[in-house]
Each structure stands twice: as structure tokens, then as C-alpha cells.
Symmetry: C2
Subunit: 407 residues, 2 copies
């Protein structure tokens, strides 16, 4: 028996690979601050649970394959509020943004075709692209440029006759980079001029920490209707990751038909979660404002504390709730393992996502980490102190750095 | 922009393609008896709704990628009750049996590799196999043999150096065929001798209408641990299709690792549905007994009525809640369209799934249909009368059959 080539091309999740070590550390009594997973801790709106409790159909039936009508309607209205007009057929409800991405890749990629993705990127993109036999062409960025990737020449230099799509996350995971209007327009132009799909993962759209960005979406550019595929989800927007409700939005009719065939094959998305998700869309603007303000305070805390650690390179992220930082260690993966196995500061340690798996290019990101600032203020403060202490001890004990060479 | 070759190789769902015509017919005031979709009408156990209503975590979080521990535990205990010992790692919770099948295909199929499937088969298998670039090699059966497929020579004659797996549904959808112990053993032997994966979709396991079958599962054969992949689901077992909770069971460690990578990439299955599904496994044997007795009565009704229609060829199905029948019409697809657009009997009409898409071999199944007996007795009686009347009118009006040629 043989495992498929494409399965062998995929890697275990870097966010989840240290889980067994974390379990062992907790058994030893260590407290771990989890900055490794983008699991918001803010409360899910009660509207979700109320809707779910009120659902009492005698038989829990399959829903329609494209999605529950009441949810499709709620999503359509939500986009209308962003000045985006959608037809009902433009929306397909999916099991989280994850399924939206997988089905999009299966719909547009053939083996050996290419997708351009700015690196560092969300590592699960690798699995979705590889599942379809595709190849990632990494658009390089640098910590000292704040990971900004919207450079026309760099993007165009990667386009070949096998390129099928450009895939971006805006606001960005793991970098927190947000495109400005001009950059969005440029990328839309490149996709249009070169006849490429433009896949925009916009699940963090509500989390932009500068008013100039508003609530960004590529869906307002109507001249790229044929190119654009929006990936969306309730997970981060409403702190409802466990609902596994997302959607894919495209006005390209041929792609709609392809996606629909895959949606029909898996019958439907979970019924009560769709019902609950429809209720989520009834929460008002106050909810978004409060969430955003809370994440902004957290970002400010993490940035302030990180900048106090000698040798850390970090730019202030403009959106989402992640940042990439370069740490003064030899290898972030090794450092993470050490933090779990050998280190504690008064019983505390910390987890982040080591940076290398966020890169396609070998050798990049080795001393970088992704930090998800999804803990409350006081925990973040403490987590950063533990990290600072950890770096200092690691440098001395493992890297054998002489005290005088550290400033 | 280009749609992928594999997406183009997939077809819209034959169970769902007449949906727009059905909507139009209902607008005209017609009542439609739906025998086209395997959506049970029996009530979902209250345990599901009670569990779901009691779920009140402040934040609805992602679950672990392999599944919620309490559900994994419930599934393990359920298998123990079938005399099947499983390790926790042998089980991965999936979004319905559908995701179990898609991820299995992505894990074991490369482009142009082959899967042997007895035809007629569940048409969504085509999408799962094609998504991975695979090719279906159909194992032929016949209505006059009751669609039985467990013939060693026929199976072995289809094996090539590109064959990766045999995929069976037991009890069968759409045929209702149940393998006896000897047939199961033979197929297990063939998989083992030829180093093939054996994918057994056993979601209808509890629905066998002859005590000699018991609750069949291939998982009791411990000599095929490396070959076997069980696809399972709560959908039919507990009339809970809308929960979208299933699992894939395999003791093949390499396959477990491959599947886990795909599971990690989509993060987790919906949290409250897993919680509800765990509660479902607490319902007792009485529940299964009552469901089975009800479906058995329905089967008997449909078979009795179908046999009264001149020209219908049908064998009594031994399991699941489907049957394939050959109708005395020229083209079941055309007949279905006519039933929705042109026909009614006192305002009633009927839907089934036309047979051709259940076959890989062109030209087969054209006058066959799949009937799902998922309606209550009196509705089934009436539906069969409407079908009988429909056939008679169609033969005269559309096929222009002369009355004397009909017996």
C-alpha cells in the first residue's frame, strides 16, 4: 500500500506539532501561555448559543448544499453593509474558511500549476495547494521591510505560464500586514492583466488598527469579477472558531459551478451551526468596535514588551491578531522545544509558532516566530516577561553566548 | 482563468439536479413524494438536542484536530460493543462520512491510479476519487443477479499495477446488497493478497434485515489491519445527517499520519456537533431495533407495491434503506423530468434518483432508478401508486406504447 505523493508533500501543522510536549509540560505542573494558535479568547456572542438552543427540528436534516437560505441571506446583507452587492449564487457556505480554501484549490489547480503566495504565509495553505497537486511560488518579504509584499515587479517576476492564482491574506496572518487601497488596486490589476485567479483570504477583515483601512475587501473592485475569490469565515469575526462556518464568494460563474459540485458531494455544512451563524450576523457594530479595541490594546502591549527585549526585530502589525518577530536565538524550533522541556520561570513557560514552516524558501524564518496575541492583557504582559527571561537563559545555557557580547 | 481538470471530471449530484424542477412543481401546487435523497425522516434522539443546549462554553473554540476526546471515547466504546478493539489513534473524527472519503482519497490516490468500485455505486464517490485525480474501475453487476458483486474472478480481473484500493459500501447504497461472512472474507483476502487498501463505507451497518448478518463490519478481520479503512458516520445510524459528524477508522499508521495532516489543515470538526454526537452514542439498543423494524416494514411495503407494477424488475434489498429497480420506461432521467413537468395524479407526483449516474459504464442504468424508502408507510403506499400511474401514462403518452403490447 502506498500513501499519495500529494499527502507526502504535506507537513504536520507547525501550530500543533508541539502539542504532545505541551501536554507533558502541563503534567509536570507548568503553566503555559499559548501564543501559538489563533484561537481568540473573547466571548462568542450569546446570539449563537440562543439560536442553537432554540433549534428543535424533529429530525436534524441535511441542509441545502450551497448553504442554509437564512445564512446565505445574512451573509448577503453583511456584504451589502460593506458596499458589496452579491447575488445569492455568488456565495457558497463552507465548513470554515478551511474548506473554502481546499475546494477552491481543487477547483482551479492541476498538478504542477502554481500559486503565488507572499511568504511568510499561513502554513495550512501548503496542504490545500498540495492536496490539489499545486506548487507554491513564494513572494519573498523581509522582517526589516515589515513583511510588505505589494511590489508589482516582484510579483510579476514570479508569473509563469503555469501560474493559476495569486493568494493573499488581508489583513495578514502571520504578519499583520494590511494592504492600502493603492496596493489592493495594483494586485487586482496584476491578476486581471495576467488572467489569474486572485484568492483573497479576508477572514480578519474587521481587525484593522488604523482607520484609514476601514473594513477592506477586494470585492469592491467590480472589474475583477472573473478573477476574484473571497475566502471568509465567522471564526475570527465573531470569536466562533468551533462553529466551522465560512464561505467562498465569487462572481465567476464557471468557478461557482465547479465549487458547487464539490459542495454537493459533501452534501451540506452542519445545520445548527449555520443556524447559529445566521444569528451571529445580527450582532451590531458595537461588538466589532469592542473586539477591535481589545485586540489593539493587546497588540500595543506585546509590541511594547517585545521592543524591550534586546535583539528582537519586530514591526507594529496593522491588522489581524498576529505578528512575526525575529528573535535573538539560533533556531526558534529548538528554542520552543527547550522552553517546554527544560525551562520555566516560577512555573511558567510560553508557546509560539516557530517561523520556518511559514516559509516556502528553505532556510528562511529559522529564528522568527509567529505570536498570536489572543490572551488577556495581564497574561500577555506575563507571557512576554517569561519569553524575555527564556531568551536570556537560552542564550547563556544553550547558545553559550558570553555575557559581554550581549548588550 | 481555467477550471481544474479534476473539477471538470466531476458531475453535479444526480440526487440534487432536479431540485429546480421540484421547486417549480411545488409552486404549481403539486405535492412531491421525495424518494430521491437518503434523508431519514425518523426523529433524531433527544439526547443530541439536550447535549447541544447544555453546551455553554464562553468561547466556542476549535476542538482538537483528530476529534473531541469525549466523542473519540464514545466511538471507541461503540466499536468495543461490536467486538472491535481500537486504539484512540485509530479513529479520526471527520465532517461526516463525506470528509472521511475525500481525505482518504487524497491520502492514497495519485493521478491516474485506480479504485475498484462495484457499480451501481453512490455517485459522490466519483467526486471524491476524481478530486484526487484517481480513476474508477467499475465492477459490473446486474439487476437480475440482485446487484451482487462479491465474485473473486471479476474483482481480480480488474486489478492492474495502478490499482490502489477496493471501495465497497456494506450494506450497499444504492442496491441494499449486504455481504455475507464468506463474501467479506473473500474481499478481505483479495485486498490482502494484492496489497490494496480496502475502503469500507459502513454507515448503514445497523440496517440489515436478516439476523444472519448481525451488525457487519470488516474491522473484525485483524489480518487486514494494514489494508482496511472504515468510513463511518452518525448520519444514518442516529437520523442525524445535519450534524455532519463521521469518522475514518484505520490501524495503518502511515495512513493515520497522512490523514492527520489533512485533519490538522482544516483545524477541527464543529464543536457542538461533536458534543451532541457523543451523546447520541448513549442511546440504547432499543433505538436501533425500532429504527430497523420501521425501515423493514417500509422496505416490505415498497417491494410489495413495486412488484405489482408490470415490467418492474426488483430484488428485495437486504440492508440500508435504498433499492435499485429497473422500470419499464425508455429513460429514467427523461421520465423523472416528465413526472415533475407534465404529470400529476390528483396533484401528486414522485421523485427518485435516475440510475445512469450510479454507473461508471456508459449506457448502463438508463431505465433504472434508486428509491430511498425514507417516508412513512402511508406516504410510501401513495408514492408507489403515483409511480405506477405515472409509468402507465408515460408509456402511453410519451413512449406511444400500444395498449395491447402491455400486459
Amino acid at each position: 500500500m502506498q500513501i499519495s505523493i500529494n499527502a507526502n508533500r504535506c507537513e504536520p501543522s507547525p501550530m500543533r506539532k508541539f502539542h504532545p510536549l505541551a501536554v507533558a509540560a502541563q503534567k509536570e505542573g507548568k503553566r503555559i501561555f499559548h501564543l501559538n494558535i489563533g484561537q481568540p479568547d473573547l466571548p462568542t456572542p450569546k446570539a449563537f448559543y440562543e439560536a442553537v438552543s432554540s433549534f428543535n427540528a424533529r429530525t436534524l436534516e441535511y441542509e441545502a448544499s450551497p448553504g442554509m437560505p437564512v445564512l446565505l441571506d445574512a451573509v448577503q446583507k453583511y456584504y451589502k453593509g460593506l458596499d458589496v452587492d452579491l447575488e445569492p449564487n455568488d456565495i457558497l457556505i463552507t465548513t470554515g474558511g478551511s474548506e473554502a480554501l481546499l475546494l477552491t484549490c481543487l477547483s482551479i489547480l492541476d498538478p504542477y500549476t502554481e500559486v503565488i503566495i507572499p511568504e511568510p504565509y499561513y502554513p495550512n495553505y501548503t496542504t490545500f495547494v498540495h492536496a490539489a497537486g499545486g506548487v507554491i511560488r513564494a513572494l519573498p518579504t523581509n522582517p526589516w521591510e515589515g513583511y510588505r509584499y505589494a511590489k508589482r515587479e516582484r510579483i510579476e517576476s514570479l508569473i509563469t505560464k503555469n501560474t493559476r492564482a495569486i493568494l493573499i491574506t488581508n489583513p495578514g496572518n502571520p504578519t499583520g500586514v494590511v494592504l492600502n487601497e493603492e496596493e489592493m488596486r495594483m494586485i487586482a490589476d496584476v491578476a486581471k492583466e495576467h488572467d489569474l485567479f486572485l484568492i483573497c483570504d479576508e477572514v480578519y477583515r474587521e481587525f484593522c488598527y488604523d482607520d484609514k483601512f476601514g473594513v477592506p475587501t477586494m470585492a469592491r473592485f467590480r472589474d475583477i469579477d472573473e478573477n476574484l475569490v473571497i475566502v471568509d469565515s465567522v471564526s475570527k469575526r465573531f470569536s466562533a472558531c468551533g462553529a466551522r462556518v465560512g464561505c467562498v464568494v465569487t462572481r465567476n460563474k464557471e468557478l461557482q459551478q465547479a465549487l458547487l459540485k464539490f459542495c454537493q458531494s459533501r452534501l451540506s455544512v452542519a445545520t445548527i451551526d449555520q443556524w447559529g451563524a445566521a444569528a451571529l450576523y445580527s450582532v451590531g457594530q458595537d461588538f466589532f468596535r469592542e473586539c477591535k479595541a481589545e485586540y489593539q490594546r493587546r497588540r500595543d502591549t506585546v509590541i511594547r514588551k517585545l521592543r524591550m527585549i534586546p535583539g528582537v526585530v519586530v514591526e507594529e502589525p496593522m491588522g489581524a491578531f498576529y505578528l512575526m518577530a525575529s528573535l535573538p536565538v539560533d533556531d526558534a524550533d529548538k528554542f520552543q522545544r527547550w522552553l517546554l522541556e527544560k525551562f520555566n520561570d516560577h512555573g511558567d513557560t510560553v508557546m509560539f509558532a516557530p517561523g520556518a514552516p511559514f516559509y516556502e524558501t528553505p532556510g528562511k524564518g529559522i529564528n522568527e516566530v509567529r505570536i498570536a496575541y489572543v490572551l488577556k492583557q495581564e497574561d500577555l504582559e506575563r507571557a512576554m516577561d517569561v519569553l524575555a527571561r527564556g531568551i536570556s537563559v537560552y542564550q547563556k545555557q544553550v547558545m553559550k553566548v558570553k555575557p559581554e557580547s550581549l548588550n
